[in-house]
Amino acid sequence: MKPVKVLTLSALLGSALVLGACSEEADTGATTGDGAEDSADSGDAQLQGEISIDGSSTVYPIAEAVAEEFMLEQPDVKVTVGLSGTGGGFEKFIAGETQMSNASRPIKEEESKALADAGIEYTEFQLAYDGLSVVVNKDNDWVDQLTVDELKKMWVDNGTAVKWSDVREGWPEEEIKFYSPGTDSGTYDYFNEIILEDAQINKTATLSEDDNVLVQGVTGDANAIGYFGYAYYLENKDNLKVVPIVNGEGKAVEPNAETIESGEYEPLSRPLFTYVDNAAIADDEAVAAYTQFTLENAAMLAEDVGYVSLPEEKYTEQLETLEGLK
């Protein structure tokens, strides 16, 4: 046994890789600070408890990744993540059935009021950015960029079919086919707020709760236009053409990791949120540790599942906020 241990220890000094794989005992002795491994002080204290999370299906992949990693460190904390949608998640949060609620849009006034009535105080944390990507068919060679006004002109219902030529002169006289996420989704809510401004969406639009249906719709029709989360564009890059959107400074910007993180891709970049029950953070060590773990690892995990991380200082700021709530 002894020579083996000596060998392990010497290897430990040499390579960080071995550090990750070696036994716990040696691990705590040699933590030199790197990423997720030693981030939470959770390594020492084994916590117990149940954490119930629900909400947006857009945020779900991040939440799933966080829960997966957290449970490797704290197997006795039973974390469950649901995908009832942003609105459905808040309903459960208000009923006190969940400790965390994921959202792909900021909380609405009536939801916030209902929480106040229920005596639930909450804190909003941002996890990552998503760039709503406006896409057209691969064969569409006329659209080079779009302004917010042009988007509004085509997407808002005016009672008649919209042709490409109505948007800009010189574009083909073909009817535009619209593909949009369903009205229950936070993605629709965000688009509604920024582009439609509460006006009725074009009645000819195909609405679907499944973004893959939208991807297929736009892929199959040369006159189609649609929008959805950046991850869906990224995955179907080869079959779709993304439209650069003119931002506030008059520059046409394509969504990608840099432009979304820097805020250059606007106004269609949106933060993804999680709302945490303050009382749960204060009273339940497991929830506090979980929230901390979430903020510490959100950047890496969000990118893993196709989202864009926030600038580092944002996470640091939010971790400070969390400290104040404990």
């Binding site: 149940e50 799933e64 649901g82 499944d210």
Partner: protein
């Protein structure tokens, strides 16, 4: 004379031709219908199996859900579905068959029972989301079961109950009256008659109807979503009040993900679901054959 007879004979031959043509045409329509349905079924199965089969491995059964498709497994969903069905099957069977026996054998045929009868038949057509809302209000909130195995199991049991009642009633009604009368004639009580004569005769029908209903409970997603069953669960339930996830939830989640690998995992999940269904249906066939042979 001879001429007219010949004309008539020709006319008749002509009509026979027409009828034979019609006969062939109708056969053709039915054949087309069968071929069409079979082709769709074959395409569906082919697509699912070709997509999902490469992902079926021992690890797939051993792992919990994961953000990495190659590490994602279906353990929690399979075990969760089995736990849920262990609530659904006894609850729905006892309530359903009990109701059917009462309505057929004990209840007087009056306006009230026919009104109840009508409502049961109507309930069978109510969308499953509505049962989900009912379950959310009663089991999750009022009775405080939370999003547990018990709450989901009871909700699903309610969902399939009308189908089981109607199927069991049909089966009980098909028991020949002579058999029952013979039993009474020998001095048997009502319960003895039900237990020894009616049920053994009706069981194949009851089993077939019930198993079809349970298959529906395994595949339904909507009520589970409404009840608030989570999708990511990395532990197995250890009691009926624990959280869990079920096969349709996991499949639904995987199909809506952007990455193609997850779509393939969904196909693998569907193969598992089909496997469970086939297993259940074979149990139904086995029960039917066993009791019919008697």
């Amino acid at each position: 004379m001879e001429n007219t007879a010949r004309v008539k004979a020709e006319e008749m031959v002509g009509r026979i031709d027409g009828r034979l043509m019609k006969n062939k045409a109708i056969k053709g329509i039915f054949l087309t219908a069968t071929v069409f349905t079979s082709i769709i079924l074959i395409i569906l199965l082919y697509r699912i199996i070709s997509q999902g089969a490469p992902y079926l491995s021992w690890d797939f059964f051993q792992n919990f859900a994961s953000r990495r498709p190659e590490q994602a497994g279906i353990k929690a969903a399979v075990v969760g579905t089995l736990w849920m069905m262990s609530v659904v099957i006894p609850t729905a069977a006892i309530l359903g068959v009990g109701t059917a026996i009462y309505l057929e054998e004990y209840a007087k045929k009056n306006a009230l029972t026919s009104w109840i009868q009508m409502n049961i038949s109507n309930l069978a057509g109510v969308p499953s989301v509505v049962f989900g809302l009912l379950g959310l209000t009663i089991f999750v909130r009022v009775l405080g079961f939370g999003n547990s195995v018990l709450a989901a199991g009871f909700t699903m049991a309610l969902l399939v109950l009308p189908v089981i009642i109607v199927a069991a009633q049909e089966a009980i009604r098909a028991v020949p009256n002579e058999l029952k009368e013979a039993s009474y004639g020998l001095g048997a009580t009502k319960w003895q008659t039900i237990y020894r004569v009616v049920l053994p005769y009706a069981i194949p029908g009851i089993a077939t109807g019930s198993i079809l209903a349970f298959s529906r409970a395994i595949g339904e997603t909507a009520p589970l979503i409404v009840v608030g069953i989570p999708t990511f669960v990395a532990f197995l339930p250890s009691g009926y009040l624990d959280s869990f996830t079920a096969l349709p939830m996991q499949i639904y989640n995987w199909t809506s993900r952007p990455q193609v690998d997850f779509h393939n995992l969904a196909a693998a999940g569907i193969i598992i679901l089909l496997g469970v269904l086939i297993l259940m249906n074979s149990v139904a066939v086995w029960i039917r054959n066993r009791y019919q042979a008697r």
